[in-house]
Symmetry: C2
Subunit: 230 residues, 2 copies
């Protein structure tokens, strides 16, 4: 569950390549979920984009939109990758196609899964800590619940000396906690969560910021297990 | 319909004071809609905050939450002000209390209305160009449709040289246009729209950025009528 697909100055998924090589070892074909459509690109174009990266790992990529029976495709998948884009568009598609439960089931039996940005957002309990614009209306905000918290990807620290009056990310997450009691991990770009069974570890270049209702935020150290916080 | 209640370095609504003095002249009691609850503050605290400003204009403020029959309160209002905060929370409350239609009716007969941020967002056709986090699930994203477009408040230009990989505001609005064909006005902080009947004018310190599906964005000059763009 990665904050971003791409870190500044690098190519698509480059910073994750050594990790993904290990994580998807043995996977010959990866199922790609292109529904988040960054910038509104087509499912085909997005799948090709992911495919070009995974060729370098000798993994074949197929788009979920290419299957007549997407539920069966999920149930048969050796590995799954959900790309970033717009979380509302992604969640609407997953709910309307009845795929949220199928995906959840397939992940709970241990199928290796990569999510970036919106694809990580949906691993939380709900999508209510996305940064995205509500350009589509999903029938529900509920998501996969793979971890006992929500993710805020592309987490940004307040900018010192900013004159902008729009809310900081921290203010937004605090507002979320005025409505909902679910912990939120602010994942900075270059960070990701590695989940094996019940064990959740923070990985990558940065600490992460954990927000819990009614408590001061905590910085989580990278390369540590963070399971005990939940 | 103001981008923000507060510009950097000034007090609450200070930059709008001369305008509001004229606009609400003759109004003795203003109905305040506190549902957007910035930072999760209470309806009472938010109403008091608005009240302290309007005292300086000798206008009494009552919160909509104080009325047993909020529909009747809207229908009887001399003037209405919806404060900023979270657009999802605001729209959920207005729909669930059945007030969206009542508000729309009262505005279409010419009742003077001030919206700031989320309170401006709801003047658009839908709330789908809000910047807010979806911390609540409204039964619909439809809003008042007082103008033939949507508003993106707190509009931010891309930051030159930024290393952040999250979407710029312009990218987000373009993604909106991959789903929905409604023009969007990016209102910078310090700008507002003044609407009289069908005439829409841009006011305040900045140009505004108009986004239309399939077209290059256009900068709108301040102190001009922009009605002809729609």
């Amino acid at each position: 569950m990665a904050s971003t697909s791409t870190v500044h100055g690098q190519s698509y998924l480059e910073y994750l390549k050594p990790t993904l090589e290990r994580f998807f070892s043995g996977v010959e074909e990866l199922l790609f979920i292109p529904y988040a459509r960054p910038g509104g690109i087509t499912h085909d174009a997005y799948t090709n984009h992911a495919s070009r990266f995974f060729e370098t790992l000798k993994i074949n990529v197929k788009g979920l939109h290419q299957f007549e029976d997407p539920k069966a495709a999920i149930a048969a998948a050796q590995g799954i990758f959900t790309g970033g884009g717009n979380t509302f568009v992604l969640v609407k598609a997953l709910h309307e196609l009845g795929l949220m439960a199928a995906l959840r089931e397939q992940l709970f039996i241990g199928t290796p899964y990569l999510g970036t940005s919106a694809g990580s957002n949906i691993c939380g309990i709900n999508m209510q800590t996305t940064n995205d614009m509500p350009i589509a209306y999903p029938p529900s905000f509920k998501t996969l619940g793979m971890i006992p918290c929500n993710i805020n990807p592309h987490y940004l620290d307040p900018i010192a000396g900013s004159t902008h009056m729009g809310e900081t990310r921290e203010t937004r997450i605090n507002e979320f906690h005025s409505q909902v009691n679910i912990p939120v991990i602010g994942l900075r770009e270059g960070s990701w969560l590695e989940v094996h069974g019940k064990a959740i570890s923070l990985k990558g270049a940065h600490t992460a910021r954990l927000f819990r209702q009614g408590q001061q935020p905590t910085e989580l150290e990278t390369n540590t297990q963070i399971t005990s916080y939940f």
